[in-house]
Point group: C2
Chain length 425, copies 2
Amino acid sequence: MGLIRIELENLRANPPSKTAVWPALERFLADMDAGRSGFFHLPARSSWERELAAIKPALAHRIPELDTFLHLGIGGSSLGAETIVRALGASRAPAFHFFNNIDPDWILHTLERVSPHKALLYVVTKSGGTMETLAQFAFLRQWLESRLGKERARNHVVFCTDPSKGDLRALALEWKIPTFEIPPSLGGRFSALSAVGLFPALVAGIDGARLLKGASDYRKRFLEQVEKSEIPDALSLASMLVDHARKNGRAMTVLMPYSQRLKTLSAWFTQLWAESLGKNGHGLTPIAATGATDQHSILQLLRDGPQDKTVGFVEVKGFDQTFDIQWHDPTLPAFDLLNGVTMNQLMDAELGATRQVLTNGARPHFTIVLPRLSAHTLGQTLYFLELLTALTGYLLEIDPFGQPGVEEGKILTKQRIVAAKRKLN
Amino acid sequence: MGLIRIELENLRANPPSKTAVWPALERFLADMDAGRSGFFHLPARSSWERELAAIKPALAHRIPELDTFLHLGIGGSSLGAETIVRALGASRAPAFHFFNNIDPDWILHTLERVSPHKALLYVVTKSGGTMETLAQFAFLRQWLESRLGKERARNHVVFCTDPSKGDLRALALEWKIPTFEIPPSLGGRFSALSAVGLFPALVAGIDGARLLKGASDYRKRFLEQVEKSEIPDALSLASMLVDHARKNGRAMTVLMPYSQRLKTLSAWFTQLWAESLGKNGHGLTPIAATGATDQHSILQLLRDGPQDKTVGFVEVKGFDQTFDIQWHDPTLPAFDLLNGVTMNQLMDAELGATRQVLTNGARPHFTIVLPRLSAHTLGQTLYFLELLTALTGYLLEIDPFGQPGVEEGKILTKQRIVAAKRKLN
């Protein structure tokens, strides 16, 4: 069973002292026990498997030739699911489209290649009232109904929302739509390992139980460290990031997985980090990157730009498949250099070189090392980054679980919609 | 003919004075006339159309059922092309895959759905020796040859590289591969409007001449302003961004198009901005975002986090298509609010609200307004952002056209490859 490992480099200039960080840890643990956020105990919840197993035969019956999964959701309702599916989805799984925006050209463009007979809509909104998601669903309902008829259209829809509140829950009851619950204490951005992400995982042929086992194993490790009065890795890293920000002005946190299949992990982390920590004039700014690609993009800035960032890598020790580069020809020196090397070795060489460049420039960085990319290691990684985010909030004395700043925008948007409608009438 | 427009808001706290900015402008113009970078005069080059027109019949002859375009390139060799294709590609065009990373699992996973008989490989490396791109090509050459045979495989390949140097040029001569030139003075990140982007555009059914016309029209406007001794818009914005960075510590530049089809534009801009400006301990850090999606991600941080950013929006005034949201039901208030509104209006309301939120919080922002999203407006936008980047470099007294910091990483990577090969033997 491969466990992920956290490696620190140049970060240790600011090693955390136990007296400084323990009070934050204790507040965090007390809040978790009081149910302040559902994420911490989520992996211990045992009912997901049952709920997910129950839906499988119903789905196969309703849509026998399922070939397209349309995921409707935005922000935390979308990114966790997309991270899991892009990282681990089987190549023979249905095509996944994540409708996380309201651009009508893009939606229509995407639908041109989709057959409603073979499509499943998964509508995810925690509150049941997210405007973008409801607007999309209103349109896709018409799209389905005009092609399949009213009754059959409903067979192509699954919801995920609050257990009792909101428009989507009301509709679920009226239309008898299979509907997963998002526990009220679980913020959207912490919901990847709930039905929000687990149902798409199921359809993509990913073992949800292994994802949860990964999270649960990481949680166990965290609690063991607490039990032994050691500073847990997530808290240790959180403390160093906070110190580098406060004392050295390193206000940005780069996350750069060296794996194309983990590209969405950076986007998910960006949302988690920004929305959890950007409060009261504080907050660290997340920067999403992907290796080796972005060595040809932001590396120049990471090496020679201002000393205002810490960089986190995600390293996948072994890819599932690899291949040799074969091109023996001394007259073509660039090809010849690569002759006999595997893609795995090339990726290793590039990550090693990038880390060396940062170390040489006294630029702090850390690495999350995954023995392989699997449901088990991804579950650990998601949970570790959630812990890291929450604990960073507690150290900054920011509540990581609210998002008060989003409200103003929602109210202003509604006012503008009402005004637009008034103009129409 | 719709021209793009630059709107500034809250940025004017630091209006540029002509005496402060004119010397940088004059150095820039002198360097452009001396051929320091090919991007400035690129739209005036008239040979693209001829070169591109010449390849069309050859292609149709070589691959009569072309359904997949495999773009091999990394950094600037990839992002400009992807930006254009994602923004404007016809829905009936071939499927485009941008192989901009070396993750072997991802490459093999993608190829599972591709038929080599119907695929075209476009291999782009300015130097002709980019390791990642050559490694991919070495593998894809085998993939093609094992399925099509050696001779026919070569019919499925087009190159884009230096006119005379490098391994790819040597191979082009040996194998007689159709090959576009990247002018030596044109840095990869400034090459979107050369054959690097124009050939994929052609295959995607996009009017390359209109892209160039857009760039050329914007260039004309810029030179007219210079002629009249007005501060050109790009310089005016550059100066305000630099001032906000120097005087107010706003070291980050967010680019947030409100259009899903412009999502890659942010990634392209990130590469352009980071690699051009991150030098000598200076540089502004780019943050890629997409509206309305990232209102549910970084908006919380933009509103309530530290005052360390300026935000740029890209607004598309009218989408090509739109649709009404129809859901009249007073018992479902969230749906009912949206009833009768178009997706266009919803997008407008969201962008307007987000701008208002920033204005209310005295957070500076600007908007690039596109009357519509078309080849003509995208050409203008790319050119404007290239001008903005170059001029920001001149104001910061940084050479925006080199990338010295990337070299160290390349050397270290090569050393590690040589070491890995030694171990094998």
